[in-house]
Point group: C2
Chain length 355, copies 2
């Protein structure tokens, strides 16, 4: 992280903390926020002074562009506390770079590194009591940017607000995840915004995901929209397939989010001598592997759940149950990765950054 | 319109009007709003009482779903004042139906007809001084809905706000419109949300449109994302091609917005004995027609500009200028359509609805 530049930030502390009211043992994901938030406004072509202030509603004109034309992007990251009470981020540079890539694709201004990185650091420091020790506990960090310019004309806004809000999180257990392979709906177009962490990508998935939920599937595995033959990713996770002893995951593209967890797993697996192939897995291949027993595991990979094992999938109204593994590779990888994140294992990659 | 039910609305009038400060001769589109707005909140599975109140900023929690996951839809309509000072809407039922189709696709609740239609009527009546007489003048109506539920978890919101805001408009003259045919970028996926008037669809277009602007083209004509061979629509307009004396326009699909202006033009042209074919025009066909001189006209069709003539297009770095027409069909159609809207010609279709 860059050196401390407190002067550049306008800091207004909350009169008292809400932390005593929080039941840290029973946290629903993304539901409770810490005492403070950060915002920084962009106007007349430049960013103003970042402000850290008590978490509170913001005033928005009803004609704000974000409401009408959807210029909104975000990131999802976590802060972890180790046994020495030090707080660590995991590859925050990756999130910063991806955030500004998203900004560019949505015709929004890039956020300066100082505002993003130093903003995170200052804000987390002020609310550091909210980061709980113990594996599984974390502080979920949500930097985001919205178009605040007024006017209902379909053109990029001239004004924006960058914000960071923080939410304490427990380990994310989603139960047994069964997935539905998309045959009709899709989340991203060729030449579209699928590779951006843009708000609009998520709302597009809600209706098809709800239909899948009604059929008993928790998630949809998206396929390419043109042919629906290539397996791409899940709603908020990249996807890995273990066929025999090789791990497969789709290459990133304009349609697929370049996940930090995904790329970390690729590196970690390689270090562990696991065979990893980055290439599109076809639906037909998956079906064949499920039928002949070579499909051993499937799992999602993303910041929230780290690794989310999938127990089976449905395609064309047939459900394929995956075999139970004695020692699932998914959990071994999850363990290795979270040990790095919580400073319980040596970080040979230099991924962790102390606050 | 349904009968007057003022009791069901909570109406708080502004202490004074801002109208005296408005220069109605120099209005930028979508920039100035009338004295009042309408909002209606959805919570616990039901819609509350619609409120009409002075136009003012609204309070939003920073974790509101609209900011993070883009659940936001809208409509664009106009109110016209005739020579008798009566105010008319144009096919508002079409916008109402489309609004709720968009809502369903975005996993948002449908808005009751009473709230949408009676809401428009009541609100316009209160701000009726803002609807100016004279062809070209109108009041642009912007019903929209945003997800107001809190929490950064990628799932549909449980709370929503429906709103209507109103903006006085002059006739929308965009100058000479040159367009770029999309070769790489796209606005919609197969199985995506392109047919919905969803906020996210617009932000996806801003960056490629800005690139086109930098090359001297005002708009992009989108092609299908899988092959980029089919001409689809423009950013906020459907597109018509006149080859010899036939008008062509793409069929609506999951990727294309079912425009009210488009369908009205199809009906109007048919009534006038003009040959209209609803089918995809291929880029190759367009090039051939431009080269052999059979391509006579291209124009966009949408509520804001009604009909927007296109003077030329670029494809693969070659610019094709369209021939000048003595009596462009586009302007004849525009005239016939606006005459119906302003009650200057008989409405044989029953499209106009008095407020
Ligand atoms: C669509 C999508 N894919 C994949 C991921 C995983 O990315 P990361 O590992 O950086 O959290 C996310 C983010 O959570 C996502 O939203
Ligand atoms: C993407 C898109 N296509 C076409 C149109 C034209 O639709 P309408 O004629 O209903 O205004 C619009 C709306 O303005 C639009 O946003």
């Amino acid at each position: 992280m860059s050196e401390n530049k407190t002067q550049a930030f306008d800091i207004k502390k909350a009169a008292e903390s809400k932390i005593a009211n929080v039941d840290f043992e029973n946290l629903a994901f993304g539901n409770i926020f810490t005492d403070h938030m950060l915002y920084c406004d962009y106007k007349d072509g430049e960013w103003g002074t970042p402000v850290i202030c008590p978490y509170a509603p913001i005033e928005m004109d009803p004609s704000s562009r974000v409401f009408h034309y959807g210029q909104a992007i975000f990131e999802g990251m976590k802060a972890y506390k180790d046994e020495q009470d030090d707080i660590w981020l995991f590859r925050p540079d990756e999130n910063f770079i991806r955030f500004n890539k998203s900004a560019t694709r949505l015709a929004m201004p890039e956020v300066p590194e100082e505002v993003f990185m130093e903003g995170l650091k200052q804000l987390i420091n002020i609310d550091k009591e909210w980061v709980r020790k113990g594996k599984g506990n974390s502080l979920y960090l949500r930097p985001f940017m919205i178009a605040t310019g007024h006017g209902v004309i379909a053109a990029p806004s001239a004004q924006y607000r960058f914000m960071i809000i923080l939410s304490p999180a427990k380990s994310y257990y989603t139960g047994e995840v069964k997935v539905l392979i998309a045959e009709h709906f899709s989340r991203a177009a060729n030449g579209g915004i699928g590779a951006a962490k843009a708000a609009g990508n998520y709302s597009a998935q809600f209706y098809p995901t709800r239909l899948a939920n009604q059929q008993g599937y928790q998630q949809v595995i998206w396929t390419d929209d043109a042919t629906h033959t290539k397996l791409e990713e899940a709603g908020t996770m990249n996807v890995f397939f273990r066929i025999n002893d090789t791990l497969y995951t789709a290459p990133t593209s304009e349609r697929i989010l370049d996940g930090v967890t995904r790329k970390s797993i690729i590196d970690l697996a390689k270090r562990e001598g696991i065979n990893v192939e980055v290439r599109s897995v076809l639906v037909d291949e998956l079906l064949a592997a499920a039928k002949d027993g070579s499909l051993k595991e499937m799992f999602g990979a993303g910041t929230a759940a780290v690794v989310n094992p999938i127990v089976g999938f449905s395609y064309q109204d047939t459900y394929y149950e995956l075999p139970k593994q004695d020692k699932p590779l998914s959990l071994e990888i999850k363990d290795k990765l979270t040990n790095i994140q919580y400073k319980l294992a040596e970080d040979t990659f230099g991924w962790t950054v102390k606050i």
